[in-house]
């Protein structure tokens, strides 16, 4: 056979093989029930409910090594299940295996009824009520806060406004300087910062006035646009790559389930998030106010661990790194880890690193 014929034969074989894979992927999806795709399965029990917000305590999985309770707070842009996507890729399970007493605040599924909730409510009411409940249940005067993304901003604000109740503050992939993306040379980093700044404040008001919320579907499309080719190839080329491996296929479906479970962001809180923080950058310049009080980062006196991802396209690393030197505590640790925003929590490469770093840091401060 000539070289040209070899090439054509190889192409024909590849087309046949991939057609078979597409068929297999279709069959696999058709034969998989949604209830078989489980996320957030680490055992926990409900301790308190306040409006749609629920406080859970995880069941211990190992001998306790750190007695101070740790409260996990995710943001309002996604669900906490990212930190517990599957048993072998779960930050909460890893931390429980290292002997932490772990609590979780779940914001639930805010809708138009939650339109008027502000970040003030989330920090000074929901988190404060959860912290008080944990203190009562455990007998500890102070708790450790573990904030993720927007939840990291909430916990930073809480630690600044209620320092007497916070023993340690751990933040992960958390924006502090919302304009630091301009220093990032990676073109795919910081689109939310850039796009939000390109809007007029009145556009954000109109968005909230029109929908009552920052719609989850809207944010999903924004995230898709940030990785344009990945979004175009996800359900074809990427999918056929995983059909021969059941574990990978189920990982794919679990990630899809997490992505599909994107809640609406309460409207007034979204205005603060987008206008006061993303546009006006008030947290870093010390003019952000909650419940009539200025959030002064210098008031944070607890030890702080700041973990961020070096290839985080949603929260560029410099946006997180900015906390260093701004707080009142001299016990400040930064841990940059390889990976992206979500990969830090769910990739096989990062498994163990994040939880090990957090557990070691907390044990040293127990």
């Amino acid at each position: 056979m000539s070289e040209q014929e070899n090439q054509a034969a190889r192409l024909a074989r590849e087309i046949a093989a991939n057609t078979e894979k597409v068929f297999k992927a279709t069959q696999l999806i058709a034969n998989t029930r949604d209830e078989e795709v489980k996320v957030g399965t680490t055992p926990k029990h409900l301790v308190m409910r306040r409006d749609k917000v629920e406080l859970f305590r995880y069941e211990p999985l190992a001998q306790q090594t750190v007695s101070t309770p740790v409260l996990v707070a995710y943001g309002l842009v996604g669900r906490y299940t990212m930190a517990d996507l599957q048993p072998d890729r779960s930050l909460v399970r890893s931390l429980l295996n290292k002997g932490l007493d772990l609590w979780l605040i779940d914001w639930g599924q805010p809708g138009r009824n939650e339109r008027w909730l502000t970040i003030d409510d989330y920090v000074d009411d929901y988190i404060d009520a959860a912290v008080d409940r944990i203190r009562r249940e455990t007998g500890h005067d102070r708790v450790t806060l573990l904030g993720i993304c927007e939840g990291g901003v909430f916990t930073v604000c809480y630690a600044a406004l209620h320092p007497e109740k916070v023993k340690n503050l751990v933040i992960t992939i958390t924006p502090i300087d919302f304009h630091a993306d301009v220093n990032d040379k990676a073109a795919h980093h910081g689109f939310i910062n850039l796009w939000t700044r390109s809007l007029d404040p009145a556009d954000i008001d109109k968005l909230v006035e029109t929908y009552g919320v920052l719609p989850g579907e809207f944010m999903s499309s924004v995230f898709s646009m940030m990785t344009p080719m990945r979004s175009l190839t996800k359900y074809n080329f990427d999918l056929i790559d995983v059909v021969d491996d059941e574990d990978k296929f189920m990982n794919f479906l679990r990630m899809e389930k997490w992505l599909a479970d994107r809640p609406h962001h309460p409207g007034e809180a979204a205005k603060q998030w987008l206008k006061e923080l993303y546009q006006d950058n008030r947290l870093i310049d010390g003019t952000f106010e909650l419940s009539g009080r200025r959030v002064d980062l210098k008031s944070i006196t607890a030890p702080v661990l700041n973990v961020f991802a070096l290839d985080d396209h949603i929260i560029p690393p410099d946006c997180s790194r900015a906390l260093g030197g701004k707080i009142g505590s001299s016990d400040y640790t930064e841990i940059p880890l390889p990976g992206g925003h979500v990969g830090l929590f769910v990739s096989s490469k990062s498994q163990g690193k994040l939880s090990q770093n957090i557990a070691d840091w907390l044990v040293a401060r127990e």
Partner: protein
Amino acid sequence: MSDKTQTGYAAGSAADWSNLWQSMAESSSRMVEAWSGSIAPFMMSRVSEKTTGEVNDLSAAIERMAQGPQLADVWDFDRKLALAFGAWIDLRARLASYNAVASAPWTEASRQFLEAMSKSKTESLGWRDMFAKWAEISNQELIKNQRTDAFLKAQKELLQAALQYRSRQNDVSDAISALFDLPTRRDLDEVTRQLTELRREVRALRRETAQSKGQP
């Protein structure tokens, strides 16, 4: 059919595939060259501007008509419908402008891909390798485009137009709800606002009471 005949058939078929593939590659290459070398991209942007201009005239005319003085007993619902229609026309124009800006990088991606392929030994590359290269180049170009002023402007105007359209749809649905004596979206927003404020007051009072009793 004998083995020999089958082999001959397979070889013939492979040769056909090869010819077909080569001819497709050459055609697409010629098409891309023709596209980038012509005034087509320029025309596309002109078309979108022209469309925007004409449509804006129409939506502006509807706007002028519907924003006239309000009459007590007639015309109000028709006015709302007309405003929603005007907003829809404007949205279509903004979408066309956005699509023109957002699709521009594909031309450059095609040019770069063909250039990269002409420099590499394509016979040693499988289609997945070639696709990976195409995806990498396209991703870079799309991302670069999404940071340009033209894109930011088109995106912002599309969002504004979409919100205006949705807002006017809401006005129509509120008018229909009112017609049937049903609570409107604004009524419900007002109720939830009052409920949220009331809850804040009750909780503040509770906290004050607890603090005065020395409870956490």
